[in-house]
Every structure is written in structure tokens, then in C-alpha cells.
Symmetry: C2
Subunit: 256 residues, 2 copies
């Protein structure tokens, strides 16, 4: 049974892309077959593996727009058990083109359902907006993972994401559930960060993962080498953080 998880938060720069890349690698390291899907026109996930969204031809754009374009044609193998559907800058036009289509929010869902490749996990990266591309992610998935940065301005966005999830669940995708909230860029020595995490736990209870993703430069360095932290610095605490998150996700903790 494939678990399709969409990583969403309309606030920018909260670690969506970094989470999809490194959580995906951590799940693959455990032997799961993992597909990463980039539907952000800015293609940060795609770029972090060394591909250029300006050059990619067989992309998630084609998957969204053309019923007869099959998933295997866009598949890029990244590593053992780890594959990617890359983004193309054409997705920016796609957001506008899809605007008028009656099934515009279900394009990705349809494409994934037509695919016969037995992945254990599909992880979808979305742009920092609540548009038709993010809607495709929310309709294709059964679970939503919300990364939230450990500071005040970022935290206020969580309620907005949960409202979008609820709207989608009620109108477009009744199967959608909250997988959990993952605190990112946490600095243990920061009183401000500690207060934000306490506040998140007070408000959202055990929908907040026990794992905290610490603030570490290696997350920004690994993409320069076209790698995730798990292959670039496999013994670094930054890699262990996403292993711990993978553990919680596989074993069901923090699931509602």
C-alpha cells in the first residue's frame, strides 16, 4: 500500500524541499522504495539533485497536463530505492493553463493512480502558495506533513495550512489526513525557538513530531554536491534528525 505524503506550507523557506529530499533519502536508506515528486515551478527539489528545471523536458508538468504521458517516462533514478519526478519551469505556465480545467486539482492524483510502479512512499514537494499546484499535491495524497520554522512569523502560518487542508478534505479529497507537524531549523540554545516548540506542542499536542530538525548548515551544503545530507554527511546529527523523523513516520507516532 503506497503512502502518498504531501509536504505543504504556504509560508516560504520553512524547509519543505529540504524535508522531502532528506526524509525521502532516510526512508530509502531503510529499504523502502521512495518516489519524490517536485511540483514547484521553482524546482528547488529538482535543482538540489543537480537537474536544471529550465532544461528538464520529461517533468511533472507533462504528467499534470497530458493524460497519455505516463509516470515511468518522467522517472529519474537518484539512488537505490530513490527516484524523482523532476519539475520544469513550465509549471508556472501550467498553474495558469490548469486554471480553467474542471478536473484541475486531480491531475496529479490521476497520473499517480494510473502508475503501476509499486512504490512504498511518494513524497510531494509543493510551492509556497495555495494555488492549483499545491491543490494537486493535496488531492493526490492521503497524508499531509507540515514543516514549520521555529520562529514566530512562521508559526502563525500553521493555522492557515490546517485550514486549507480542512477545506480540501471537505470539498476535494475526503481521504486527506494530517500526518504531523515537524519543527525545522531548531536551535537548542535559543530561548525563542524553545518557546515556539512549546507553543506548538501546547496547541497541536501529539500532532507535533517528537523529532526536531536542528538548524545546521550542512542542509544548505549538501545540494551544492547534488546530494542529500544522508549521502553527503551520513554520520552527521543532521542526517540522524531525518532518520528519526522517518522512524516516527514508519512507526505511526504523531499520526492523528
Amino acid at each position: 500500500m503506497t503512502r502518498v505524503i504531501v509536504t505543504a506550507n504556504q509560508k516560504g523557506g520553512v524547509g519543505k524541499t529540504t524535508t522531502v529530499a532528506n526524509l525521502g533519502a532516510a526512508l530509502a536508506e531503510r529499504g523502502a522504495r521512495v518516489l519524490l515528486i517536485d511540483i514547484d515551478p521553482q524546482g528547488g527539489l529538482t535543482a538540489s539533485f543537480g537537474l536544471d528545471p529550465y532544461e528538464v523536458v520529461r517533468s511533472s508538468y507533462a504528467l499534470l497536463m497530458y493524460d497519455r504521458f505516463s509516470l515511468p517516462r518522467a522517472l529519474v533514478t537518484l539512488d537505490d530505492n530513490l527516484a524523482l519526478i523532476p519539475a520544469s519551469v513550465d509549471l508556472a505556465a501550467g498553474e495558469i493553463e490548469l486554471g480553467g480545467w474542471v478536473d484541475r486539482a486531480y491531475r496529479l492524483r490521476g497520473a499517480l493512480q494510473r502508475s503501476r510502479i509499486p512504490f512504498d512512499f511518494m513524497l510531494i514537494d509543493t510551492p509556497p502558495s495555495i494555488g492549483v499546484l499545491t491543490a494537486n499535491g493535496l488531492c493526490a495524497a492521503q497524508e499531509v506533513l507540515i514543516p514549520v520554522q521555529c520562529n514566530y512569523l512562521a508559526m502563525r502560518g500553521v493555522r492557515a495550512v490546517l485550514d486549507s487542508v480542512e477545506r480540501v478534505r471537505q470539498t476535494l479529497n475526503p481521504d486527506l489526513t494530517l500526518l504531523g507537524i515537524i519543527a525545522t531549523m531548531y536551535r537548542a540554545e535559543s530561548a525563542h525557538a524553545q518557546e515556539v516548540v512549546q507553543e506548538l506542542r501546547a496547541v497541536f499536542g501529539d500532532r507535533v513530531f517528537h523529532t526536531l530538525i536542528g538548524d545546521s548548515e550542512v542542509y544548505a551544503e549538501a545540494p551544492i554536491a547534488n546530494q542529500t545530507v544522508l549521502s553527503y554527511y551520513p554520520n552527521h546529527p543532521a542526517a540522524d534528525a531525518y532518520r528519526a523523523l522517518a522512524e516516527e513516520i514508519v512507526n505511526g507516532r504523531a499520526r492523528t
Copy 2:
């Protein structure tokens, strides 16, 4: 002569909102009359001054949508010499509603031109996307300020922003110029951050401001008190950083 400066970068979380708020406060502190304009449906700038985009009625949305809605009606006084046009969550609908309008990118420009209030500076905050709201910012302004985070994934976005600016200059707003690129969240002890700044200077020369905005928690703490760093921690280096940027902007350094 009013200088209208739009702060733009489609990458999320790079410090657009923080820059508009604190640069605005630094300019006002020098005696300039400053208007901040929030056209991000997420309303982070509005929220950082204690207003709720879910509650705001007289907002930039009304300013964009209604020819007869005049700027003074939306004006909120924040401090001496510092005012705000707040955002409303209605802007999300506005992005869609404006889609079909022939003059959709010029709505803000028209509203600002109809206003008679003699501001010295208008600073426009935009969302992390290249849509009609950001286009309104790019068409209403003569100068573009691009904040860029000191890490690799964020840096690759600068070229994309410059491409958008060039497209807007050629097709929609020939008056648009690049004011400069401001490096944000800089950590002096980080080799990675130093490399990013060196790379920015190598590629973009003196379009990069001499000022670097350092990484400091107080930028995230000030909004909790509904203030900028300049009023919350006026003697902190974090406040001085934006004073230095204001100095460069007023005295023309880093302008192309």
C-alpha cells in the same frame, strides 16, 4: 519625488517582509515619510505590526480592486513618519479575480498615482511567487530590492528574479531599475555564508549592497511585540544593519 521600491524574490523566507518593515523604520527614523504596502495574501508584514489580515477591511485588496477606493482610507499610522497599507486575506481571491482584467498589472500603480500624500518612500512587500500581485508591485515601483539568503538554494533564485524584472521592464514598466541585492541572514562565522556572499559579489558586482543583514533572533522576536527591531531593540546591531542599508539607499551606493 517619491521613491517607490518593491522588495521581491519568489523564493520563500528570504527576508522580504523583515526587510520592508525594518528598512522602512530606519528610513522613517531619519525623518523620511515612509509608506509600507503589503500585497501578500499571507499578510506577514501586516501581522508583524499587530493587525490581522483576516480582520482587515480597508486593505490593499480594496485599493487594487476599486478605482474609487482612495489610498488615505486604507492608511494605518504605525509611528512618526511611518504608515502602512495593510493586506487582507481577500488578496488570495484578488489574485484570481484580477487574472482576467486587461490592466491587471497596473492596479496598484494607478492607485498610488491617484494619491496626493507626499511620501518620500513607498516600500512594497510581495508574496513568494511570480503572479499578478507581484506584477502589481513590479509595475508600481521604479526600483527593485532583492533580498537573498546566504545559502546555496536561495542564491540560485536571484537570476530568476532578475529575469522577471527584465521581462517586466521590457513589456510592462520601462522605468523599473534594480536598486540592489541585499544579503540576509548572514553568519560571519559560517564559511558557507562567506562563500555565498563572495559569489554574489563576483557575479553581481556593486549591485550587491556593502551592508550584510546578520542572522539574529531579534528579527523574529520584534514582531511578537508588534514592532520592528528599530523600536524594540534600538541599540542592537540588528537595528544598525538596517540603518546602514537605509544609508546606502539614501546616498545612492549600490544603485545601477
